[in-house]
Symmetry: C2
């Protein structure tokens, strides 16, 4: 018998993700702070719930997709939260991108209630959510993942659902690694584009040459083009990437890992947001070094 | 009628490159400081020359492939150098990776002698040289490139020979951009691998997850694996990459371009070389942050 899925957090990412779950025929109960998104999901066949607790009361699997660590803590542990009503032998899947350290505490609280928690942050952005092509990085017990895999496969293809480790927080660590790898690549590409512009060399020729060699990357392909065209419509907003980099540097500090490049990228994003670019695509980071768009 | 090609500098890169030119049936005259490589090329049908001047006297197209800016200056402008005997209407192709600023001065000197100079640094390393799969980034006049294209195509496929710009030095700028883009990506990947190790997450799972998403890059694919396995047999030696990053930061300073990431990567490579790793593959840079290999 199919399990009832609860979904809490119907934002830019959560709304299309929840719709895919409903579309695959799962019984879906949803909750969101603002009502508009809930009504939209009702038209896709989902049942509305008044609170996180109301979701958990009716669900076998509860998915959370909210902005930050404090939001997940509130939704799980707060008044009217998931843990006030969660039954035994359920699975909580937090698909938000939050602190791995906090995640371990939350997973312990869920385990105390006789259920399991998975951390399963995603990569691929709004487009990935809409097209159900998200990469999903999963931390937590393999038996829980095996049970919910058909639900995750509503949002991402099987080959992109990676069980990173049994340890709670492994998925969040992997997501941080992802954002750090992207950040380093973006810094390098931004400087390459700035160097080309400032020395009078055609940046699109540089991009073309570099894509044929060892510098080839998705970041060069997509963000290189954004930097050349000065097209910074999001995409993924700088202020959200700022949060991810804060998680990266905080987690590095907590574990004593040296991350000088992530620290640098974090400062460049801070500069972009501080100068009013928080709602631009995060690839606009390059404009802090050099006003690339202004030279078109 | 086929032109005579002169080749100066038969090192790790130059030797296989010159062999490919001979193998395609070009008349080839070679010179190198040490004799062993010259004798090796003679067995491939090349004619030996006693000096750079002796090469230039017999050649229509002169290729230089030497370690650094000062070496190219010496080979072209020094005593017994190319410019002492270079005829009119020849083409000098410098395939070394050197300063774009110095390149412009050298090109002007070649032009004063009634010949043209192209800067055509390569990417792809020893393997690319051996397999004739180099990326070649060309700066300088299009007519000169059109004339020597069949010679360049002995060393790299046509689609990887990019005419970056008419301006002398454009190829060198592009090569610098290439090394900066790689450096940023490598820093990000190094920190991701260090974060995974230090937090007890399997770095190979992280690499696998990241390769499926937006963080995908050749650097993650190849150097990510090197960092996981602790395999730093070169490849491309750290001390040569150190030189490339010095060119990047010096060129940035000369043109007033901000390159904080390249400056950081440059310092990490300095630390690797200073701690005795100059002959390791440059991907060992990650070990400065965290002794990845030691945890195997």
């Amino acid at each position: 018998m199919s399990e009832t899925v609860g979904f809490i957090g119907l934002g830019v990412m959560g709304r299309p993700m929840a719709k895919h779950i409903a579309a695959k025929g799962h019984r879906l109960v949803v909750h969101n702070r603002s009502r508009g998104a809930v009504e939209d999901l009702q038209r896709s066949g989902a049942l509305p719930a008044d609170s996180a607790a109301d979701v958990a009361r009716q669900s076998d699997v509860v998915i959370t997709m909210v902005p930050d660590t404090a939001d997940v803590e509130q939704v799980l542990l707060g008044e009217g939260g998931v843990l006030t009503t969660l039954r035994r032998d359920c699975v909580v899947i937090d698909m938000s991108s939050i602190s791995p350290v906090a995640t371990r505490r939350l997973a312990a609280a869920v385990a105390d209630r006789g259920s399991a928690m998975l951390d399963a942050p995603v990569s691929g952005g709004e487009i990935g959510a809409i097209n159900a092509t998200l990469s999903i990085m999963v931390g937590g017990p393999a038996h829980a993942l095996a049970r919910v895999k058909p639900i995750l496969e509503c949002m991402g293809p099987p080959e992109k659902i990676i069980h990173v480790g049994e340890e709670s927080g492994s998925g969040q660590i992997c997501k941080i690694c992802n954002q750090m790898a992207i950040g380093g690549a973006l810094a390098g590409v931004s400087e390459a584009m700035a160097m080309a512009r400032k020395t009078g060399v055609d940046p699109s020729k540089v991009r073309e040459a570099l894509l044929g060699g060892f510098a080839a990357s998705r970041v060069l392909e997509v963000h290189g083009e954004r930097l050349i065209k000065g097209n910074f419509a999001p995409g993924f907003r700088a202020r959200l990437y700022q949060k991810d980099l804060r998680l990266a540097t905080e987690t590095a500090a907590a574990h004593g890992v040296a991350v000088p490049s992530a620290a640098l990228v974090s400062q460049l994003i801070n500069a972009l947001v501080a100068s009013g670019g928080g709602d631009l695509d995060y690839s606009a980071m390059g404009t802090v070094l050099f006003d690339l768009a202004g030279l078109e």
